[in-house]
Each structure stands twice: as structure tokens, then as C-alpha cells.
């Protein structure tokens, strides 16, 4: 185990800004892509459902 305590973990040997700055941007990017993928899929399905419904006699 590398860390004596959670606060030591978050401090990252005095490099917290750089380590967490890198990791948090990577996390934000992935979360945003997942949201964008979900919205695109939802939009495509909704659009098709509306078209199908509009064609029904």
C-alpha cells in the first residue's frame, strides 16, 4: 500500500493538481461522450418512431 491515509492519497505527494487535473479531464471527456452517445441514440429512435406512427393509416 502506497498511502498512509486518504489525505495522503489525495495529496499525491504534492502533485495533486497535475495528477487529478489529468485524471479528471479524462473522466469528464468519457462522461460527455457517453451522454452524447445516449442522446444521439435516443434522438434517432424517437425520430423513427414518429415517422412510423405518422405513416400508420
Amino acid at each position: 500500500m502506497n498511502w498512509g491515509s486518504w489525505s495522503a492519497f489525495w495529496e499525491m505527494g504534492g502533485r495533486a493538481f497535475y495528477v487529478w487535473g489529468a485524471y479528471s479531464m479524462a473522466a469528464v471527456c468519457i462522461v460527455l461522450e457517453v451522454v452524447a452517445l445516449t442522446l444521439r441514440r435516443r434522438h434517432a429512435r424517437r425520430d423513427l418512431k414518429q415517422r412510423i406512427a405518422a405513416e400508420k393509416p
Binding site: 502533485r15 485524471y23 461522450e33 457517453v34 429512435r45 405513416e55
Partner: protein, 247 residues
């Protein structure tokens, strides 16, 4: 060989449900690998003797950088197949990979900057490795904006394929840049020839995280290609009769 008709899977109609079945498995693999990889990265891998804790950026930096190049090559491959065989699904696959590739490139550049500042004393230098990786980002953005600007999907496919194929020469330049030019960027972290300079647990953390990025990228590209199929094939009978779209 004879029993499987590979051309069957090249039709959007067959690929759409197949991709749908594959996505949850890749998501699960990505989540498990990321959990294990992050645990190794922060709790198993030791503090680096020269860099201290800041080296831990390596665990996301290397995986993202590998994926940024690998996705580009795969994208160019599908674009080329789409262009030469007029295969719709291949071109859709290329379009589905581009945003994820751009994202990986951005993550590689960003994490590189946050690692470079404390170790080199600068966020950015115009050296061969960093500049060629930035060009990769511009190639992805060029591909995406060109396709977005052209209304006819088949023409957009062809135009995108030209950028993808011309740009693919940049990938070996990125990869070998640290050998060809003197650069601030360190050489390959994983090397069969160099004497073992990385702790084994560091290497494992990097590899597991890289695999997590890989599985995530596949899941993202497959999810996106399914949306692209629905958008482009919206007038096809098989789309209209999909069970999931019946209310």
C-alpha cells in the same frame, strides 16, 4: 471458412442487431478492466524513484495515446474499404470511430501537458512527438467537419475517406518521432529491447488501463454506428419493422 458467409455481416441489417448484442459485453469489460487498472495504478504500483507520484498520469496517458493512433488506422482501413468496394457499413464504421479517436487524442494531449509541466517545466513544446499528435487531432477534426458539411452521405463518405487515407502517413510519424528526432518526449515506455526500467506492476497497470480504453472505444464506436445506421437507413423496410421501434 465455407460455412460462414462473411458478406452477410457487411449489411447494416445484419450488423445492427449483432452490434447491439456486443455492446454490453464491451461495456462490462471496460468497466471491470478500468476498476482493476485504476486499483493497480494507485494502490499497487510503487512511487517512481525519480518522478515521485506525478508519473501516475502514465496509466491514462499511454492508453489514450495508443488508442488515438490505433483508432485512426482502423478508421482509415474502414474508409478505404468503403471507398473501394462502395460498402456503406464500412464507411459508417469509419464515421463512428472518428469522434472517439478525436477524444482519445485530446485526452493524450491534455494528460501529456499535465505530466509535462511538473516534469519538463512546460505544458507544451513544438517538438516532433507533440506536434504530430496535435496534427492527428486536426485530422480527426478535419474528417468530422468535412463529413458534417456535406449533405449527401455517400459523397461525405468519399470525401472523409480521402482525408483519412492521406492523414494515415502521420501515424508512423507520431510513433517513430521519438527515435527519428531529438525530442523532449521520452522514448517508448514499453520496449522489448531496452533494459527493464519499469517496475512490473507499473507495466501491468499501463497495459490493463490500455485494454480498458480499448474495450471502451469498441463499445462507443459500436453504439455510435448503430445510431448512424438508424439515421441513414431510416427509409429501409427492415428499419421500419424493427421490434424496438414498434409502439
Amino acid at each position: 471458412m465455407g460455412s460462414i458467409n462473411w458478406f452477410k455481416y457487411s449489411s447494416p441489417q445484419t450488423f445492427y442487431p449483432l452490434a447491439g448484442k456486443m455492446v454490453p459485453w464491451f461495456v462490462a469489460a471496460a468497466v471491470v478492466l478500468a476498476a482493476v487498472g485504476l486499483y493497480i495504478s494507485f494502490f499497487v504500483a510503487p512511487t517512481d524513484a525519480t518522478q515521485g507520484e506525478v508519473y501516475r498520469v502514465i496509466f491514462i496517458h499511454v492508453g489514450a495515446a495508443w488508442m488515438s493512433m490505433f483508432i485512426y488506422v482502423v478508421m482509415a482501413f474502414w474508409a478505404a474499404i468503403g471507398l473501394s468496394f462502395n460498402a456503406r457499413l464500412s464507411s459508417m464504421m469509419a464515421s463512428a470511430l472518428a469522434p472517439t479517436g478525436a477524444l482519445m487524442t485530446f485526452i493524450a494531449l491534455w494528460t501529456g501537458a499535465f505530466w509535462g509541466k511538473p516534469t519538463w517545466g512546460t505544458w507544451w513544446v513544438w517538438d516532433a512527438r507533440l506536434t504530430s499528435e496535435l496534427i492527428l487531432l486536426f485530422l480527426y477534426i478535419g474528417f468530422l467537419s468535412l463529413q458534417a458539411a456535406i449533405d449527401d452521405p455517400r459523397r461525405a463518405d468519399k470525401a472523409g475517406a480521402v482525408i483519412a487515407l492521406v492523414g494515415v502517413v502521420n501515424v508512423p510519424i507520431i510513433y517513430f518521432s521519438v527515435q527519428w528526432w531529438s525530442t523532449l518526449h521520452q522514448g517508448a515506455s514499453v520496449s522489448m529491447t531496452a533494459n527493464q526500467h519499469m517496475a512490473v506492476t507499473m507495466l501491468w497497470g499501463m497495459l490493463v488501463m490500455a485494454l480498458a480504453f480499448w474495450m471502451y472505444s469498441i463499445a462507443a464506436a459500436l453504439t455510435r454506428v448503430r445510431s448512424i445506421i438508424l439515421e441513414r437507413e431510416r427509409n429501409a423496410d427492415w428499419v421500419r419493422t424493427l421490434p424496438e421501434l414498434q409502439t
